[in-house]
């Protein structure tokens, strides 16, 4: 019999800024487990940590950048992806990971998200979706299901939410997955796959926010959310993202939805650069021979 307690777990302490602990996240919050999966994925896959750059925006998930002992950037609200775009375009050897929340990435930063997917730029985006703005006390987000209660939808949310895997896959992402924080093995594996795959990878992680969103939506404890995920998760690799929308208390389709190969932004850029340099060199040669 395998003793589950003795399975060797990667050590993540070396990737943590332990002098910054304790962290600011509430008890039962889902962000910490996602950060844990990220760091275990780095260790298990032996990804070169010196080449990783973590970029976060603003919000609870935005604080991940501050706890990891990696090159890390805590930028402005919504702008993690364009900042990361500059990093990867200036140094294609970097392994750029954007770690941020749904409000940051999808509301104020939504335009950058779809354009990064369209460009198929080499980066991994980990989007912790807790359906609300936790840092500011629980306001409605563009991911909040219809009828969800938040501090700014006291009578129920009257807006339809984004279906993130559908949005990002339609925009051109090479890799799209969704997991909840209950499925940490699959999540860790997905992060490892995304970080080692060229092109734009997007992972949505459905996560509890017991102190604000959960309290208002009958999931007042982190464990309540975990029970919900256990009861309602449907693991369906290859599911059509179009059918993976989330509803209040509804099923949560999880799995790897998209995993395709297509040329990345850098593939195209290199080609164009070569063309430009050949043209410039050709012209210089003509000028020299004319003299």
């Amino acid at each position: 019999m395998i003793d589950a307690m003795n399975v060797e777990e990667p050590s993540i302490e070396k990737y943590l800024r332990q002098d910054r602990l304790p962290h600011i996240w509430c008890s039962g919050c889902g962000i910490g487990p996602v950060a844990g999966c990220f760091l275990r994925a780095i260790d298990r896959e032996k990804i070169d940590a010196d080449r990783i750059a973590v970029v976060s925006g603003i919000g609870c998930t935005g604080r991940v950048a501050g706890y990891v002992k990696l090159d890390s950037f805590h930028t402005t609200h919504g702008r993690a992806i364009p900042f990361a775009t500059g990093l990867i375009l200036a140094n294609p050897d970097l392994n750029v990971v954007v770690f941020s929340g749904d409000g940051d990435l999808v509301a104020i930063g939504g335009n950058h998200l779809i354009h990064a997917a369209r460009r198929n730029i080499d980066m991994t985006v980990i989007c912790v979706n807790n359906f609300n703005y936790g840092m500011t006390g629980g306001q409605v987000a563009p991911t909040a299901p219809l009828e969800a209660r938040t501090t700014t939808t006291p009578y129920g949310n009257f807006e339809s939410p984004f279906n993130l895997p559908y949005l990002v896959s339609a925009s051109g992402a090479s890799y799209v997955a969704r997991w909840t924080v209950l499925q940490i093995r699959q999540l860790e594996k997905a992060i490892a796959e995304a970080m080692t795959k060229p092109g734009f990878s997007f992972i949505e992680v459905v996560a509890p926010c017991p102190v604000v969103y959960g309290r208002m939506n009958k999931e007042p404890k982190g464990l309540d959310s975990m029970h919900y995920y256990q009861d309602k998760s449907i693991i369906q690799d290859g599911a059509d993202p179009k059918d993976a929308g989330l509803e209040l208390n509804g099923p949560i389709v999880v799995g790897k939805f998209v995993d395709v190969q297509r040329p990345t932004l850098w593939d195209h850029l290199r080609e164009v650069s070569n063309r430009a340099q050949e043209k410039a060199n050709g012209r210089a040669k003509v000028q020299r021979s004319a003299k």
Binding site: R51, V55, P82, T85, I88, L89
Partner: protein, 383 residues
Amino acid sequence: MTENQGLTGEFFINGDVACAEGAISAGCRFFAGYPITPATEVAERMSTRLPQVGGVYIQMEDELASMNAVLGASWAGVKAMTATSGPGFSLMMENVGLGVMLETPCVLVNIQRAGPSTGLPTLVGQQDMMQARWGSHGSYEIIALAPISPQDIFDLTITAFDLSEKYRVPVLIMSDEVVGHMSEKVVMPHVAPESLLNRRRPEVPPEEYLPYKTDVGLVPPMAVAGEGYRFHVTGLTHDERGYPVMTADAQDRLIRRLVDKIRLNRGDIIKYKETQIEDADIIVCAYGITTRIAQFAVKMARDEGIRAGLLQLITVWPFAEERIRELSLQAKAFVVPEINYGQIVLEVERCAGGKARTTLVPHMGGGVHSPETILEAIREAAQ
């Protein structure tokens, strides 16, 4: 970047193109931007030139993204620039603040048009001068240069990169539509790479490196991503380690240093040019394209026997306040022509401190002053 691949020789080009060539000569190898009149030609030129010299040009989805991509590229160790005009400048403001807070070398070019809002997209203005100084929220200092010709914008773009690398701050080139779109002769010298300034890099091993610990002076050495320093930087108020610290004390230490690294080095940063100042009673203080009209006006005034002189602000921010204070003891009046309804004149007035009169010669935008308008103001001031 061993060899400089900037063009050399004489060219007849407009200011926008000269700006792009200045950037290439300065070692800029990354440009992110968004099309906007009258700055688009800077982007177009960069899209042609950067791939030739091993750099990257990208058109982003908006100016918010452009400014952030420039910051990201700089943190990957590459000299980076963007160019825009009024509405785009407004959109970049939040992340100019991020650049200041993270201490990120980069250059932002504003080919000014007349506003507010969409205003006169194709016509000149000098109306973002206070926005350049105060446009992002919070208390900070920034560097802004104002070129007067295509040659000048070529030269000042190189200066802008040098200053941004030396002081680790975004440097603004506050040009205008006339300078951007006029074509003149530009002489591009060979710029030796060793003549350019580069940010100081850390000399300590990663385990000893603190991103915001100063050693000599107030500008800390800068690590870049991917070299094993494993540093953290944040737009939050932070300590030497780059860690957020939410106290008034940490704020006091950080903001004083961010401001003082510019303020205490203003003698090195501030450049101005004086013409016929020695005996001048009336001093015309001008910047950008307006300087060139003011030159005529000063000459016409001299021909009439008025002792007029010209003070051209090459560096607009930080402001040449010591020099204006000195000149206010000598001159009767300052005449300040600008293509707005009064911006830099407020600074001149402040520095003159009541010792010399100050007169604004405003132009609402869409054109430049006539020399006669400025001459008339000189005559009135001389009475």
